[in-house]
Symmetry: C2
DNA sequence: GTCAATTTGTGAAATCGTTCACTATGTTGC
DNA sequence: GCAACATAGTGAACGATTTCACAAATTGAC
């Protein structure tokens, strides 16, 4: 009826184990996580749901871990991933800078959060807030020279990390991954209609 | 040199737009997000990186949105997705219950966080802490009858939401998605080696 | 023109997660 | 036996993000 975590933990080195990973290959030639499946198998879940659960979970986990590795890499220059993405976004607007709301959309977070991120970046001297001459409610975020330098260094680091993570996939596989993710995303968005739609 | 967000925003209904989604189909027949690509195109990113960025971002976004839709669905019975996953995990151990550390592994969070989740669930009367007779340091988490009922209701809701999200994919596509995600996950784990490895 | 509705940014408080430090207990080597 | 070390749970402090409420400015309907 139930499988204790210990049971699954002892399955660390199963028969189909791939060297260098904790995953195995199923009969159809696809990777799966035997440890997770062993735990899941005990929970009286309809067979047709198992694959769906596995797929979504793997995707979530891969995304989280990928972003975590970016975070880790960027810590070298003392910016968080989110701060780096913000710098990159602002940099894209050049000397003109941009209001904060477009940044929020790009990051896929609330405007309030951008205020907080800006506070941190400003404290580090990487961005500056200047009045928007065309709209007195708004402020313009602009990179300082230090911010531009940081964005450049960050870009090198981020791209190296990205390459490290994605070199495991061929271009065709990346295309496929993007395609399937977007299909699922479109379906999920209809189920959670009020969510912010990030661009970065 | 730079594309303002406004420019991209006006591209809401491009030529290759799919009805019912905000995505388009590229020449190879794969979905992509034209809005995101338009913004990205301005940022002087090496061509070979663009696809990698898109793929990872789409995956992250899809995962987040999928989980958000579960959260949304489960709010009907006043549990968070994480609380539901915790209930499900504990339920898997039956009447014997389990210590908290295995739960932390299953959820992929720190033990400290499980304490907090348990606090919330206990306050709702869904779980109970009892002393572990075999280890006086440990406590055993067990579902109350109310917890069991909640887990059951939650399972129905969660599975309905999961079906809604994943019905967009064929079984073969789910297999493929899981496969590619795990490949990427394995690569990302090597880049961020200290991360907790979740099982649920 | 004017007034209502919307938009922009931010303070305050809440949520969810983390790390660090600590106590109490178990385990192991000798 | 016992010192050294590892493990289980939790308090305290912190960080990222959200929601709600608000003031100031803009926009739009008439």
């Amino acid at each position: 009826m139930h499988v204790l975590a210990k049971d699954a933990a002892t399955a660390d080195t199963g028969p189909g184990m791939i060297p260098g990973t904790r995953f195995e290959v199923d009969p159809s030639g696809h990777l799966y996580d035997s440890k997770f499946r062993a735990i899941l198998a005990a929970k009286s879940i309809p067979a047709e749901m198992l694959l769906s659960i596995e797929a979504v979970r793997c995707m979530v986990l891969a995304g989280k871990t990928a972003y975590a590795s970016f975070e880790e890499a960027l810590s070298e220059i003392e910016v968080t991933h989110q701060q780096f993405r913000t710098l990159l976004c602002i940099d894209g607007y050049g000397a003109a800078g941009t209001q904060l709301h477009p940044i929020a959309q790009w990051l896929g977070v609330t405007p309030r959060n951008v205020t907080a991120i800006m506070d941190a970046l400003e404290a580090q001297g990487l961005v500056e807030r200047v009045a928007d001459p065309t709209d007195r409610r708004a402020i313009i975020a602009r990179l300082t020279p230090a911010g531009r330098a940081k964005a450049q260094k960050g870009t090198r680091i981020h791209q190296a990390a990205l390459r490290r993570v994605t070199s495991a996939l061929t271009d065709d596989e990346k295309l496929q991954l993007r395609h399937l993710s977007l299909k699922l995303l479109a379906a999920a968005e209809q189920a959670a209609p009020d969510r912010r739609k990030a661009n970065g």
